[in-house]
């Protein structure tokens, strides 16, 4: 039998104004288990807490009921008070007689009657409470960052800076991501490579950071503080630790006609290649789809010219397992395919290109060495049309475009237009826009400069059709402000393609049990208050995998994610919420219903031996709850057919006893 103390709070007149606190304390005195009952003006005050402490000691209380404000307000306070007096904090229950009683009812008899019933319910519950101890789980002090773009790089650097080990897994042969392909950055027009490559070098040189390039995460197990990831290191047929990155193989390889993905197929690379000059790690990779040696067994030129002896045609994919305390997703984005938008003739003319392709055309390290030349004939274009919102804000057909605004296009198009006019004042530049969206520091000023200082023609309206005729592109569009349909003979058309999450994100989300929205962007734990955490504990979000964003936002978020990771890794042990599910193994059928509904994957099954009445042993499959992962929603308890699964702190019999207390 419990020895329960009841403390009725007046909350000044907040409660006492509508509830006869004296009568409540008196009425609850005779409830089963109650050995002490009192009332006080402010239970949450120091004096009030002292009364509770003293009563706990004096009356050897095993349980406490506080009739006061909402538990959302002071449950923690009173639990701490109880703990200070040596009582298990989970032996405290609150009867909410303020928000849910005195404040919503007007007359004293009604309020008092209800307060007594609420008090009885809390007492009934405490009678069945058991002391709970929060579990602990150790933390592996290493983080995994998935994706090696600017988001992943910044997160890794910040975590490493705090002294923790970080691994970056990047599926491409080099880190750098999309930012490495970009020419200049808005609104300052810094050279992207100039600000990115030093960071890449920092990553390479940081002792705390390991880079797994040309690698993918294929499996993740475990939970916050204790993840185990399987990483597939794809065979690059070059010994990473031997290759010096001299590049001689990439010059001598006879297979010259491989589309260069770094330049988006606008020029060619060899079958053995280093993506770009500042690649990290600066190691060659052999493309098995194009290497003659790997395909036919005849060639071997690269092995012959490699003085370091780094080429290894027999290399196989390698799988390694590593332990991590936290995982950061930084899988980034890609422009969507333009196949479904061929009214813009992307597939019909080489001179219709995407904005990212335009970046490469403008870039000194790009296919044209920075000269603006048309892909079709290498001529200098004189009239350029930019089309905004291609596939963004598109709700028409399923899977055609994206319903959201891609956010970055307005600004990078202003940048393209401005740079083009700056370098080539003889070009006419038209930008067709629906809206120009430039919220951001110095953003609108930047766009206005393109119009006012650089003479870019911004036309409100959309391009309806692009028709390649001869060596020209006939652009038919509407000018909504002039209420005219206009036709422009353009030399080059640049499409601001919508961006979408990388295709690898969806399977990764499944592995991590992290949730995604319908567009395959990762969902945050709370859109306002926990924007860089996934709802899955220990999984954090960095960059465009969460939604379209530009570089400064990405870097800011990368830092925020890193600080969350650091906060986690700084702990030696994690304290778990003790109000978690637990399964009574004797009753468990092993039917898997609970595991099916668990949103956290907290339930696994183990084979367990049971002694039978006839002294034989029997091995049965039973559920086992990982207390570090369980968040205590209780969904499993309801689907459990045998009632083997129960929730600590909100047990079946506790809730039943509350029902009974209220109903009679």
């Amino acid at each position: 039998m419990q020895r329960i103390g009841v403390f009725v709070c007046w909350c000044g007149s907040n409660i006492a104004g509508t509830v006869d606190v004296q009568a409540v304390a008196e009425a609850l005195k005779t409830e089963p288990g109650v050995v002490f009952s009192t009332n006080y003006q402010y239970m949450c005050s120091q004096a009030g807490q002292d009364i509770m402490k003293q009563a706990i000691k004096e009356h050897n209380l095993t349980g406490v009921v506080v009739c006061s404000c909402s538990p959302r307000m002071h449950e923690t306070t009173f639990r701490k008070t109880a703990a200070a007096a040596g009582l298990n904090p989970y032996m405290v229950e609150i009867a909410n007689i303020r928000e849910q009683c005195s404040w919503v009812h007007k007359d004293m008899p009604t309020g008092t009657e209800k307060a007594i019933i609420l008090g009885k319910a809390a007492i009934a519950k405490v009678n069945l409470n058991t002391p709970l101890t929060p579990g602990e789980s150790p933390v592996t002090k290493r983080a995994l960052v998935i994706g090696g773009g600017i988001a992943g790089i910044q997160t890794a650097l910040d975590i490493a800076d705090a002294g923790f080990e970080v691994d970056i897994v990047e599926k491409k042969p080099t880190i750098g991501g999309k930012m490495a392909q970009i020419d200049k950055t808005f609104p300052t027009l810094d050279c992207a490579a100039c600000i990115l490559t030093p960071k890449m070098v920092d990553v390479a040189q940081n002792e705390k950071i390991r880079i797994f390039s040309y690698a993918e995460v294929t499996d993740v197990k475990g939970f916050v503080g204790n993840f185990t990831a399987t990483i597939k290191k794809k065979a690059r047929y070059v010994k990473e630790d031997v290759c010096t990155g001299c590049g001689i193989c990439t010059e001598k390889c006879p297979q010259k006609k491989v589309p260069n993905e770094f330049n988006l197929g606008m020029d060619n690379r060899r079958a053995v290649y280093i993506p770009f000059a500042q690649a990290v790690p600066k190691v060659a990779t052999i493309d098995p789809d194009h290497c003659t040696m790997l395909k036919t067994g005849k060639c071997g030129v690269c092995a012959k010219v490699c003085t370091a002896g780094a080429i290894d045609y027999t290399q196989k994919d390698e799988f390694i397992e590593e332990n991590y305390g936290a995982i950061v997703v930084a899988t980034g984005y890609n422009p969507i395919s333009m196949d479904k938008f061929d009214e813009f003739a992307y597939n019909q003319s080489k001179d219709v290109i995407t904005s990212l392709e335009y970046e490469r055309l403008m870039n000194a390290a790009g296919p044209t060495a920075g000269k603006l030349l048309r892909p079709s004939d290498g001529k200098h274009p004189h009239t350029i049309v930019f089309v905004q919102c291609v596939g963004s804000r598109c709700s028409a057909c399923d899977e055609k475009g994206k319903e959201y605004c891609s956010k970055i296009c307005c600004m990078y198009t202003a940048k393209h237009a401005m740079l083009t006019r700056d370098k080539y004042p003889d070009t006419d530049v038209y930008v067709f826009y629906i809206d120009v969206r430039t919220p951001g520091k110095s953003f609108d000023e930047f766009y206005r400069r393109a119009v006012e200082d650089y003479g870019v023609h911004y036309i409100k309206g959309m391009v309806g059709k692009v028709m390649p005729e001869g060596d020209q592109l006939k652009v038919r569009a509407s000018d909504l402000l002039a209420n005219k349909q206009i036709n422009i003979d353009a030399d080059l058309v640049v499409l601001a393609a919508a961006i979408e999450p990388d295709k690898s994100a969806r399977p990764l989300a499944t592995m991590l049990t992290a949730s995604m929205d319908t567009n395959d962007f990762f969902t945050e734990a709370h859109p306002k208050l926990r924007p860089v955490e996934s709802p899955t504990a220990g999984v954090f979000l960095s960059g465009a995998c969460q939604g379209p964003r530009d570089i400064p936002e990405t870097v800011a978020q990368a830092g925020a994610a890193a600080s969350k990771v650091i906060g986690l890794l700084a702990k030696d042990k994690l304290t778990c919420n003790p109000c978690v599910a637990s399964s009574n193994e004797i009753m468990c059928n092993g039917c898997s219903s609970c595991a099916n509904v668990c949103p956290y994957g907290a339930i696994t099954y183990v084979e367990k031996e049971f002694r039978q009445p006839d002294r034989t042993t029997l091995v049965r499959r039973v559920a086992s709850v990982n207390e570090a992962v369980c968040q205590g929603c209780g969904c499993c308890t309801v689907v459990c057919p045998s009632g083997a699964m129960d929730l600590k702190g909100f047990a079946n019999n506790q809730i039943m006893s509350e029902v009974d207390a209220i109903c009679k």
Binding site: A396, I434, G461, M462, V463, G464, K465, L480, Q485
Partner: protein, 128 residues
């Protein structure tokens, strides 16, 4: 309000929701009959949305739409302006004596090679 009823009827009959329009003007940027029209496809959508239907009903633009569906296919929001135009046109020609094509004049319009297809389609589009 009569206009409000008319607006509702036009919208219901077309099966189109003009509120989905984000005013990008792509329909008008793609329309092959743009130059013959007094009110252009994007204006049709906007004017139906705001209930400014009278001018549309009195406009020759109604009979210039080719029903080529270019605007329907290219609209990023699935607004389908051609269906709205058809709906407004039906509101006109379904009224007594409002046929657009005078059947007596058909012999003057057609020639030897004119296919039946043109006549039946025009009758369907222009007459009750």
């Amino acid at each position: 309000m009569e206009n409000k009823n008319l607006r509702e009827e036009i919208i219901r009959r077309s099966g189109v929701n003009p509120l989905k329009c984000m005013r990008c003007g792509k329909c008008s940027g793609t329309c092959p009959a743009y130059d013959e029209m007094e009110y252009h496809p994007h204006q049709f959508v906007y004017m139906v949305e705001t209930g400014d239907i009278e001018p549309l009903m009195n406009s020759k633009s109604l009979y210039k739409c080719l029903t080529c569906f270019a605007c329907v296919d290219r609209c990023p929001r699935g607004v389908e302006p051609a269906k709205l135009i058809e709906s407004v046109r039906l509101s006109v020609i379904r009224q007594q004596g409002n046929n657009h094509l005078n059947t007596d004049t058909i012999p003057d319009i057609i020639d030897e090679e004119m296919p039946q297809q043109a006549i039946v389609t025009a009758l369907r589009k222009y007459n009750k």
